[in-house]
Amino acid sequence: MRIEKVAFGYDKKKLILRDLDYTFKRGRITAILGPNGCGKSTLLGLCSRLFNPACGTICLDGKNIAQYKARDFAKYVASVYQISEMSPDLSVLGLVTFGRTPHRKPFHHLSEADDAAIKYSIEKACLKGFENRRICELSGGERQRACLALALAQEPRVLLLDEPTTFLDVYFQIEIMEIVTGVNHEKGVTIVMALHDLNQAIKYADDIIVMKDGQIAAAGDAKTTLTPELIKAVFDVNAEVIKAENGDSFYAVYR
């Protein structure tokens, strides 16, 4: 997915994104980092066609995404958001079945491919046994996994996640990350996610983009891009590398 000279603003006076150029690499996990209001979510919104760029183009497989039909685009790209309002009475199975919408013809029953995709998504999202649970009975983590399963049922080749772990506790955060990396390894789905947690980005992503004020401040390999200097410049906090006993290294941040 290639982004060329993209600019965007919610109103004419102020641009949120300016002159953005980047290519998300196929089959890899890219994490977008940056302080609040830097344009992470906006960039994902543009990629998922929630809004249209004011200028510039976003291309997918060499074709401008604006030219895809809505249904075809939905077979290609799926999105998961921070919070989603959903009908509380729906069952998990019912919700995940909606993921097949772009693949189904109206007034047709579920095909075998539909069933298989739904089954796979539910298993992948660790929702086995939850099929008949209603959305309003789920915890925050389970609900977010259900949203993820919904997106997976679309069988997308690109999965966009907008801060999928923000409202979850650490256990569920790790769980979501593991589900996402699992899907990436098994099906080669290209993943682009906006994250807040620097360490999660380093641990689970292949590439990292750091954004500031609507522009890309740094981009590159996940393991080497982030430096204490960069973190200081972008987030205005001090960072220090700490080694954990299991061999991972982490950034500890403080003011």
Binding site: A70, L95, N132
Partner: protein, 337 residues
């Protein structure tokens, strides 16, 4: 295969029972409505008369009351389905064509056509639809910001509705209408409709409900919110506009006949949701039948209660609907929807 088949079977059985019950009640109510307001015929006399066709009293009753029955039933269905569609667009279960001002706009269109334009059966519904559409476009545009704003649309609609009511009454006063005439048609007097009006109403209602059923799948997806719907390949704005067009069309069709019958578009879908759940493939047909049944029974009740003066159908439907609406608002504190 994936679903709990036991639950599926139970659901299918419930669905079948509900629809059968609806058909039976409709048939009974049909007979009752033919007799309503006249004390001299029995239920069985009418059933017999309906089948044999040679009972003169019954034939007269059918000729007099059947048009009214049909109009009441189909307008009720139209209002209920219009309510479902508006609820789907605004993602708010309290949306109703009368509350958001579409019914009064439709009524105003019809009124203007009757007052200022040459008499024609086409012009009045046409103008009703045009007015309904423009008013909802205005309300929708005023409330449409970047974020979903489902409660703002209701508040704005209520304000627009109040203004329209004043305009309607002003037109009536300027034309020196006997005030009662306008008030009567506002609350839906249903006084013996002409045959072409009956045919037009029935045809338009059926067409609208059919269109709504075709859109049921999209309504289902829209319940997931704008962002997810869009991610699932639904063109959200375009879909909403189509839904609104159908909903306004239905509401305006009903408004020219039964006036501004508030809360029906809210009450029927509410019951339907409780009975068969929120799947629009069931919700739309069931709401249609329930809406028809409610308005028809309101009309029967009004006729039976008020003989020789008939209490307008809209008054009864609105009183009952209003009470339920208030109860619903109280309950929703606990639901914290």
């Amino acid at each position: 295969m994936l679903a709990d088949t036991r639950m599926d079977k139970k659901k299918a059985a419930t669905t079948a029972i509900v629809y059968t019950a609806c058909i039976v009640i409709t048939l009974i109510l049909l007979v009752v409505s033919i007799a309503a307001g006249s004390k001299d015929v029995s239920f069985f006399q009418i059933v017999k008369g309906l089948f044999t066709g040679d009972d003169l009293t019954v034939n007269t009753l059918i000729r007099v009351n059947m048009p009214r029955t049909l109009v009441a039933f189909f307008c009720g269905a139209a209002l209920a389905v219009s309510g479902v569609l508006f609820q789907s667009v605004t993602r708010n279960k309290l949306a109703d064509p009368a509350i958001i001002g579409v019914s009064s706009a439709g009524f105003m269109g019809g009124l203007i056509a009757t007052v200022y334009l040459p008499a024609s059966i086409v012009l009045s519904p046409l103008l009703a639809v045009i007015f309904g559409m423009s008013v909802f476009a205005l309300v929708f545009w005023l409330s449409y910001a970047r974020e979903e704003s489902s409660s703002r649309i209701l508040a704005l609609g209520a304000a627009v509705n109040a203004v329209l009511m004043v305009v309607i009454l002003t037109i009536a006063v300027m034309q020196n209408f006997a005030a009662t005439n306008v008030i009567l048609s506002l609350v839906g007097s249903l006084a013996v409709p002409k045959q072409d009006v009956v045919i037009a109403t029935v045809a338009l209602s059926i067409a609208g409900v059919f269109a709504a059923v075709l859109l049921a799948g999209k309504c289902n997806v829209l319940t997931l919110g704008d962002k997810i719907s869009s991610s699932l390949g639904i063109n959200v704005l375009q879909t909403k506009i189509i839904l609104i067009v159908v909903a306004v069309f239905l509401a305006a069709t009903a408004a020219t006949n039964v006036g501004i019958t508030a809360f029906l578009g809210l009450l029927a879908p509410l019951i339907a949701r409780k009975v068969l759940g929120g799947n629009h493939y069931n919700l739309i047909p069931l709401s249609a039948v329930l809406g028809g049944l409610i308005l028809l029974s309101a009309d029967c009740f009004g006729r039976a209660l008020g003989t020789p003066v008939t209490i307008p159908v809209g008054i009864i439907a609105t009183v009952v609907g209003g009470i339920v609406f208030i109860m619903l608002l109280r309950r929703s504190y606990y639901y914290a929807d």
